[in-house]
Point group: C2
Chain length 368, copies 2
């Protein structure tokens, strides 16, 4: 272990092993770990074949520390806040073989540069699909049912105040589930990958009848898959449509597409003006897809009913002056879509497996 | 129309009809409507065969107004806050034939007294099942995923503060859905009626594997129904159990049972102490079933993970001093389980249909 590490491998119980592997010590690859990984840490600390440098504090890794400690490293485990760019690669030097990010997103990593320098890149898709689909459904319900305002009212004592007059339409919002007198619902997906499909599965028992989605123009239609999903979920419609129809027809619109230039501000004022006045927008993918100012205007001027966001452009610098924070019909949580003990442990484990695979030239469970 | 009504039936377009039915005016039964019913009002106002007295303000009906105006009425349409007791019946006099409540609950109505005086009673079950099941699932997700705290943090600008350190287990909670590495979930229902079963249906795509429930000791087991549900939802277990097993085995426990003496404080300190430390309690039925002080202790001392409540004993007098309002792990909304435009319109329509049926000796769609 180098200086900067939190734990030691040379405990008494490791004495014999240490002597056996001591001849390897000169070639043990150095790896930098940018955050303590909680219950997943033993998967790293118990290994005798790596030299671990761990950011020692329970907060974001400082850039200066990272640039200093990555010198001569063969691998680095990063998270979304760590920019993996030329500066970092130059600081590491030619020893760097693998970058493993504990995230499904990889916009913080300069992929062309990585390819040029032949550095392998691992990420953690799939394992967070279910957790994000859970919170996606939750935000759709919260935004439709005014639950941000309702929650704040109770926490501020407003339930007990005389002006809390119960009347038949107090706190009413559009209903996600169908009823006998309101038997049709259209859900729309901007992006129709794993998380979108897991969200659709959760929506089926709500009586959803129509599902429409928009995919990247460069992607090929998958007619067989769509037909299979339509049959499986007994939907009247499951159809790939253009963005215009997606905006016009969705009762709930889910943004579940990667970030980056291709999807920047797809949901802008023009898009939002086409949406139904009782519709709800949910974004649990990347803040950059939605124009925050346009969305705030749409909520204020009642172009749409409500919004539920786990991500916002410019996060985490979202202050009380932010136009969406000021909108009562906007429910926001701080990018916690994958924040469950089960999923974060799986993500950490996957990131470690990718790191080890890349270090020793083996298989990486999820390589970009 | 009597004085106190908000709308007039004698608009110009009604002149001919008014003259036709004018000979009936002496026998038109008087009905008192305790709240404006929004878009459902035309169903009452368009009728020529009733004399409507409508509480004229957009807030709870005052008792003194009701006692005064109900004199000689044949029917009354009430909501949960209106106590239908001997005082009210005596004020109405022997003309009263029907009480119609726009609610699924009827603990505000003295049913034995109604039977004694041969007054018919209507209520509005079924039509709110889907709306309440929606919010039940939402509260389970919010309570598990710390979304009360997360929402407040963003709304108060905390996302932007330097001490918001993203680390792998920040804001983590137990995951409702199953994952490959965490493949089992047990949901428990205290009460297994319509809303509980609609909630179970919504939980199936989350990968729920076990469902247990407790019913009133006086109810008969329904083995055939349970076997059919287990097959339909592909569950490893669907079993009626005692309250002890329900508390010990549930990952998420849903309280969905009527209020009243039989269920008073079933969820008390003894019950809560048996629950799993990572479990979540959701109550969307009646506040009286859960001992609020015991639940606050359970949350504070981490006997359980979190709670999501749409109902609280003593509501709406729930101030910031209330022990549950003070608990960060308690998510609360102000009894808005059925608050959607679709469902409240259906409830109002059903309440009007019950009222008219009872007035004229016809069928009431949902009679107690």
């Amino acid at each position: 272990m180098s200086s900067g590490s939190m734990a030691s491998l040379s405990s008494p119980s490791h004495t014999r092993l240490t002597s056996i592997v001591s001849h390897l010590s000169d070639v043990r690859p150095k790896v930098v770990i940018c955050r303590h990984l909680g219950p997943a840490m033993p998967l790293l600390l118990d290994r005798k074949d790596i030299d671990i440098v761990l950011w020692p504090e329970d907060r974001g890794c400082e850039r200066a520390w990272l640039l200093e400690n990555i010198k001569g490293a063969a691998g680095v485990l990063v998270l979304l806040p760590e920019r993996v760019n030329e500066e970092l690669l130059d600081a590491a030097g030619p020893s760097l073989r693998v970058v493993s990010t504990m995230s499904v997103g990889y916009e913080h990593i300069d992929l062309p540069l990585m390819a040029k320098r032949k550095i392998r890149v691992g990420y953690t898709p799939d394992v967070l699909t279910e957790a994000v689909a859970d919170i996606t459904l939750m935000l759709a319900l919260m935004a439709g049912r005014n639950d941000g305002v309702a929650y704040s009212l109770v926490k501020n004592g407003g339930w007990a105040k005389p002006n809390f007059g119960w009347s038949p339409f107090t706190f009413c919002g559009p209903q996600l589930s169908t009823t006998a007198s309101s038997p049709a619902r259209t859900v729309g997906f901007l992006g129709f990958g794993r998380i979108a499909q897991a969200t659709l599965a959760r929506l089926v028992p709500f009586g959803i009848t129509h599902c429409i989605y928009t995919s990247s123009p460069t992607s090929r239609p998958d007619v067989a898959r769509d037909a299979a999903l339509q049959t499986k979920y007994n939907l009247k419609v499951l159809e790939r449509v253009d963005a215009d129809r997606l905006a016009r027809e969705s009762d709930v619109l889910f943004v579940l597409t990667p970030g980056g230039k291709e999807t920047y501000h797809i949901v802008d004022a023009t898009f939002l003006r086409k949406m139904k006045p009782m519709s709800v927008l949910v974004n649990t993918s990347r803040g950059s897809v939605v124009d925050s100012d346009a969305l705030a205007t749409a909520l204020r001027e009642k172009w749409i009913w409500g919004a539920g966001l786990d991500v916002v452009e410019g996060e985490p610098a979202i202050t009380t002056d932010h136009p969406l924070v000021k909108e009562p019909q906007c429910v926001m949580v701080p990018h916690i879509g994958s924040a469950t003990f089960q999923t974060r442990l799986d993500m950490a484990t996957r990131a470690i497996d990718n790191l080890i695979g890349g270090l020793f030239g083996g298989e990486m469970p999820a390589e970009l």
